[in-house]
Symmetry: C2
Subunit: 407 residues, 2 copies
């Protein structure tokens, strides 16, 4: 199976790269003075839409409203604020999330049911609706084909860079673009914070195909930096497909499905890697590849467990070739395998084979770990399934950032 | 159900407090120059014994050897080294672990099958057997009724204090003592490091009762700082009961079983709390109580998930009343409950009710969080089962310690 990272022609920009999409990102003073904190995406025409949401028992109000609005598989706009999560906010929070959809719909001249809502930030505080409403008005006024970058900025919280990606390809002779933006889980332990990603495409595609493609791509991208079931109150991934490329609509059965799927996977994987690289306080990026597994899902689970281990992350920060922590994490990932067959590499350096440590070149290990990007490979030597996960190190800055997030 | 923390008469010392137990802790230069790093416990007579071991797929050689030796439910001595884990060491590691048992048995004049072996430290390196053998000889020579404290020192790795506890009580008119020592998982995320605990008692107790009591107590103590299934390569809890108190042997059916169980739970909970207090880099200790749950196991799982959350721990370090992170962790603990019924307290301050944030006294919250010990209470309001877990904050020092553990 392709890891979705080769052979694609990237296009400039992100969510406004496909035809018929405008966006805006404005500063409504919800987050920090002068930071963009309200984002809007709008398609010229109603789009086929699919979404994936947090599995946390505590679902933020915008998640509940968006699930409702996407139940018919259609959407035309997405409105997002950063700075406050509108989670654990009770009936008032639900009213506020609905108000965001209503106002956006009213200003755009579309039914509120076509508006997806998302929020990210501090959990539990009330929404400053006066600021958010003013922000939505400003965002509608600012909508443009060039607004993708501003929107990508407006969804950031502790992210240090906006995250955008777009890819251009051909479906039945028609040029098609998929664009996307994401906000980092902005963290080292990505299962605990909010990940938002919004994707747009001018491809024509049937709802079932769009839904299946989004699930497939998310499992191999966002879910490889975020452990399933361990999600925040607000996690949201939504895709809008407006069909303006004029291709024959993609169905689950058409040969074009595989092409669309691979292109979507490419965009999602690129955004997921950007999230890992921009982990809170991260000084290093880690790609964990597990191969020789009995199942692809098992391989991914082991890779995620390694990439999420505080001890592996701390050793990476300290540039310490403590491969025993990699072994330990693999061993408690909950996936059966024979420990006596396992080999481990740091970069291209084999450090353990047949489950046992080797005498290796510590100087070479140090060189590898001094890099900004470190590859960890685990070969289980018992099947032919592979999996990848992405993460980063655990640094002093993670603690600093998260010791005073609210204040 | 008792949390095992009330009404017990503690006795001085630890593993040598019960009759008929001697111990020693010596410096064999395995860990750091001059630090005690080989521990030995010995009962005058063969004892009924039970053990619990890591569920990690990678089991260290001493774990495999000890499981073998405890298969008959009997043991008389325990030999432990710190500094190196003897994990992922292949056939040589197995030979080394067996050699530790053989030599200990030979010097004590008992069969090697009565010797339990444990190691803790860096994974993957070879055992310095010359040093360890010399250490075992020294330890045998140093065995004494006063040696419990030295043994508790010798099993430490990044622990800052030795951990000992003993309790005295009566079974059928006979004085009985249970003693114990532990080494901290020595960490913030306790599911990733080695926890060792050794318990001794002069109670007479049948094997099935001892085994059941150990499992019960471990679930409510060590497993409340260590998530089941997420264990290191070396985790070991072993209890030896030599019967020298002369009580009528405790069986699962006898009324004395409940008394023994509560006393054992007391010792295990005290040791577990010491582990939490001494987490690597910890500046604060956290007790998480979950009440009103549908099941005790569910309550403990939610409590553990909260106590293990990097974001909760970072907020505790930063003294930030970010209760949203507590809610979030509860919501992904994998235990079903109605989020709209949940109340949360920091200390005695109610910060959320019916799943919704309250306006609370931030000054008072700050005072509570400035303490060295912080209680977090979550009431699910839907059943009558309770659970507790213990943890600590995530500090800069955690990262420092774990960035350079090997070096």
């Amino acid at each position: 199976m392709s890891q979705g990272n080769e052979g694609w022609a990237t296009a400039p920009g992100g969510i406004t790269a496909p035809q018929g999409f405008k966006a805006a990102g404005v500063a409504a003073q919800v987050r920090k003075k002068g930071c963009r904190d309200v984002a809007l995406i709008c398609s010229e025409t109603p789009a086929v839409a699919a979404g994936l949401f947090t599995r946390n028992l505590f679902k933020a109000a915008p998640v509940l409203v968006s699930q409702e609005h996407l139940a018919d598989g259609r959407a035309q706009a997405v409105v997002v604020n950063s700075g406050i999560a509108n989670a654990c906010t009770g009936a008032q929070g639900m009213a506020d999330a609905r108000r965001m959809a209503d106002l956006t719909g009213e200003l755009l001249g579309i039914t509120p049911g076509l508006v997806v809502v998302a929020s990210t930030g501090v959990i539990g505080g009330p929404m400053p609706m006066d600021k958010i409403e003013a922000g939505i008005r400003d965002a509608v006024a600012a909508l443009s084909r060039q607004g993708g970058g501003a929107a990508a900025e407006a969804i950031m919280t502790t992210d240090t860079t906006p995250k955008e990606c777009a890819v251009k390809f051909s479906l039945g002779g028609k040029d098609v673009v998929i664009g996307g933006m994401a906000k980092g889980s902005g963290m080292i332990h990505p299962n605990l914070a909010t990940m938002l990603s919004f994707l747009t495409t001018d491809a024509a595609i049937e709802r079932a195909a769009l839904d299946a493609a989004l699930r497939y791509a998310a499992d191999r991208s966002y879910n490889a930096v975020t452990i399933d079931g361990d999600t925040s109150t607000n996690d949201t991934v939504v895709i809008l497909a407006n069909g303006l490329a004029g291709n024959e609509p993609v169905t689950l059965e058409s040969p074009d499905y595989a092409i669309f799927l691979d292109a979507l996977l490419y965009v999602c994987v690129e955004l997921a890697k950007m999230i890992a690289r921009d982990g809170e306080g991260a000084t290093k990026y880690m790609e964990v590849r597990v191969r020789g597994a009995s199942s692809e899902e098992g391989a991914r689970q082991i890779a995620r467990t390694i990439a999420c281990s505080n001890l592996v992350k701390s050793a990476l920060f300290g540039e310490d070739a403590n491969w025993g922590r990699i072994v330990t994490a693999a061993g408690y990932a909950g996936v059966p395998f024979d420990p006596d067959k396992v080999s481990i590499w740091l970069g291209d350096l084999l450090v353990a084979a047949e489950g046992t440590g080797l005498v290796f070149d510590e100087e070479r290990a140090k060189e590898i770990l001094e890099g900004r990007e470190v590859a960890v490979t685990v070969d289980l030597n018992q099947g032919d399934a592979d999996g990848v996960a992405w993460g980063c190190d655990l640094s002093y800055d993670y603690v600093r950032i998260n010791g005073s997030y609210r204040t």
